[in-house]
């Protein structure tokens, strides 16, 4: 009996000590990412996925790049723990976003979530995260409505539509003064989802402050085949300036309709990726010229941010394309997550959230033009800003702000025939 008891106790002690030893080894940290690889934004989504995968490799493996987490393997503050990436396609459908987030939380037991590209999907996915108390970081969903809900778990790294509208109006004010042109009327042409509507809302809230006397908002449903009716509405008012929020194919349809119906504003300024893609320039040729885009990444940053050039090269090796707006922002969001996970006292949800609240990354440690990353009580990055580019001779050039502009903006933009 005594031998049996001794044996049992020893076995128990051994198991406990071994279990303890196992617990000392680096934990696997699970990051759940929701992005669209099918649907209206599939193309942008696929490239954004590549950027996130690269960020995870940068963190988990060793790279000879002068950038946070590149030269180490795993998170140093967590004993070299690696991040395991779980990616799922939400196809741009908000209901899928919610169910994917729930599944990732319950079945995959993710420590933290990232996503979503489309703000409408983020709206539901973050709700699921908030209910479960799981932190959620978004680098690509721009709608201010997301953070207006005051969620404790949501942290938005990207500039929102409010910041974008502010940048647009500031730029237009400077151009108006420079060329002695008074801009009176404004139109916002946007896709009728959370993201597109956020630009209309932001512009409507602030247009009077910048001296505009009228604003016309025209929204269209997703997946349109034709925008003639919408453009004819705009033509009735003949706005001086058009602000636009469209997805990839809609942007092409819209500009073709502008040309066909001879709608000629003094400037077209686009929020988001669609007016920044090579497909846009390819599809429209000369018609693409002179469109302005608000972007959060541009080649000009490769010289201004350490490590950015090498990161761009590595990304190019993987995808055949250089970095651009959406992938750069998603990459940045993943690095913000890594930074918080690294500093967090433990991998509990509360500790990760506390670490995110304390985030204070200088702009120089990112590849984006933000002043830095620091969240306010609503989870908004107060140091976020963008830059404005214009397509000139089929190439995107940075034209604002002045300290990083490569060339002067062409304003007002030439007519469709004069190209």
């Amino acid at each position: 009996m005594k031998m049996k008891q001794l044996f049992a106790v020893s076995a128990l002690a051994l198991t406990v000590s071994l279990g303890g030893a196992v617990a000392q080894a680096p934990q696997e940290i699970r990051l759940g990412v929701l992005l669209p690889t099918s649907g209206a934004a599939a193309k942008s989504g696929q490239e954004t996925v590549e950027a996130v995968q690269f960020a995870i490799d940068l963190i988990n493996k060793k790279y000879d790049i002068d950038f946070p987490f590149a030269k180490t393997e795993g998170l140093p503050g967590k004993g070299g723990a690696k991040i395991k990436l779980i990616i799922e396609d939400h196809g741009g459908l908000p209901e899928r976003g919610a169910s994917i987030a729930e599944r990732m939380i319950v079945e995959e037991k993710v420590h933290i979530l990232q996503g979503c590209f489309q703000s409408s999907v983020c709206a539901t996915a973050t709700q699921a995260a908030e209910k479960a108390g799981v932190p959620f970081v978004t680098g690509t969903s721009e709608s201010p409505a997301l953070t207006e809900r005051g969620f404790k778990t949501l942290f938005s790294v990207t500039p929102t539509a409010d910041d974008i509208a502010r940048d647009f109006f500031t730029f237009l004010k400077e151009q108006g003064a420079k060329h002695n042109i008074k801009l009176n009327s404004l139109a916002v042409m946007h896709v009728n989802d959370n993201w597109g509507s956020s630009l209309a809302k932001a512009a409507t809230a602030s247009y009077k402050d910048y001296g505009y006397s009228s604003i016309k908002t025209v929204s269209y449903p997703t997946n349109v085949s034709d925008l003639k009716g919408e453009v004819l509405q705009l033509k009735r008012d003949n706005p001086d300036v058009i602000l636009q929020a469209s997805f990839d194919t809609d942007a092409i349809i819209a500009v073709k309709a502008y040309q066909a119906l001879q709608l000629q504003p003094k400037a077209i300024l686009a929020m988001g990726a669609s007016f920044s893609t090579p497909e846009f320039i390819n599809a429209l040729g000369k018609l693409a010229n002179f469109a302005f885009s608000h972007t959060k990444f541009h080649a000009v940053l490769l010289d201004k941010r350490r490590g950015a050039a090498q990161i761009n090269e590595e990304y190019k090796k993987r995808t055949g394309r250089p970095l651009w707006d959406a992938p750069a922002r998603a990459f940045t969001a993943t690095m913000v997550i890594a930074d918080a996970l690294n500093r967090a006292k433990s991998l509990s949800r509360e500790d990760i959230i506390a670490a995110l609240k304390e985030t204070n990354i200088p702009g120089a440690d990112t590849i984006v033009p933000y002043q830095g990353v620091k969240f306010d009580e609503r989870g908004r990055n107060v140091l976020a800003n963008g830059l404005i580019t214009q397509i000139q001779d089929g190439k995107h050039v940075a034209v604002w702000p002045a300290d990083i502009a490569e060339r002067q903006a062409v304003f007002p933009i030439p007519g469709w025939d004069a190209r």
């Binding site: 209206a40 193309k43 696929q46 449903p221 009716g229 349809i253 066909a260 497909e279």
Partner: protein, 285 residues
């Protein structure tokens, strides 16, 4: 004048919907099957047109006949491999089969060609022209004209040729058609081929100026479903006019009210028709 512009733009868009709808209606009329993969046939035609332009430099307008023939053959193959086995089966089997085909084709295209948007950017047909105060996009006008010609060809074939009449006979009464010596299996295959060919013509016409990507089918086929429902399932003429009506209602609706509501009008019209004339405006009980 702007209302005339809206009307013309509605007709232009409507002609494309009409051509797509006619193919859809033919399948239903002949076989009582709703082809949910109809939009994907169009997508494949658009990709084929694009790749012929990309690799051989042939404008989609000139490769149109080849593309239509290729998709005709594809339609026949789909019939022989898939739909032949669901004729006369339960409604659920039929829906699942064509719906599954839709998902498969879209995913396959996404896998092969990724979601990248392709465009034919130096088509021989480009630019716009002006007639008084009216503005027209040349590619769209050409597409609409092409769709109108194809629709007329469709009508002519169905009503003026022996094969076309045999097809109509099969649609009307399969058993009687068999008794009259019509090979209904061949008629079914022909219906699928023609349907795919018709929607391929629409796709080839669009390829010269519309972005090509795996999900493009839905943008054109959903309104076509409404057109078929309005015009009467199985009624080709009804599908044609249904397409025109949907185009006009959509563009007018978007122009007169908030464009974000523009899709409401065709579907509201459909609900009205479903309420008061469930077999469609030109359908029969």
């Amino acid at each position: 004048m702007i209302y005339v512009q809206v009307m013309i733009d509605g007709i232009i868009v409507g002609l494309m919907f009409a051509l797509v709808a006619m193919g859809l209606s033919l399948i239903y009329g002949v076989m009582n099957i709703v082809n949910f993969a109809h939009g994907e046939f169009m997508m494949l035609a658009m990709f084929l047109s694009f790749f012929i332009w990309h690799f051989f430099g042939i404008d989609p307008i000139f490769s149109l006949v080849l593309v239509a023939a290729a998709l005709f053959a594809f339609g026949v193959v789909v019939y022989r491999l898939l739909t032949k086995h669901i004729v006369g089966q339960s409604l659920l089997s039929q829906v699942l089969a064509t719906f599954g085909l839709m998902v498969f084709l879209q995913a396959f295209a996404n896998f092969l060609w990724k979601a990248n948007i392709r465009t034919v950017n130096d088509s021989v047909i480009s630019g716009f022209f002006q007639v008084g105060d009216l503005f027209f996009s040349l590619p769209e006008v050409v597409s609409a004209a092409g769709a109108a010609v194809a629709a007329l060809g469709f009508f002519w074939f169905l009503n003026r040729t022996e094969t076309g009449l045999a097809l109509q006979a099969t649609a009307e009464d399969q058993q009687a058609a068999k008794l009259m010596g019509i090979n209904t299996d061949r008629m079914f295959a022909l219906a699928w081929g023609l349907s795919a060919g018709a929607v391929a013509i629409a796709g080839a016409l669009l390829a010269s100026h519309f972005a090509v990507y795996p999900q493009v089918g839905a943008r054109w086929v959903l309104p076509a479903f409404v057109a078929v429902a309005i015009g009467g399932f199985g009624n080709i003429t009804g599908a044609f006019w249904g397409g025109i009506i949907v185009g006009i209602v959509q563009v007018y609706g978007g122009f007169l009210t908030d464009p974000s509501l523009k899709n409401i009008f065709p579907y509201a019209l459909f609900l009205l028709v479903a309420f008061f004339r469930p077999y469609g405006i030109m359908g029969s009980k």
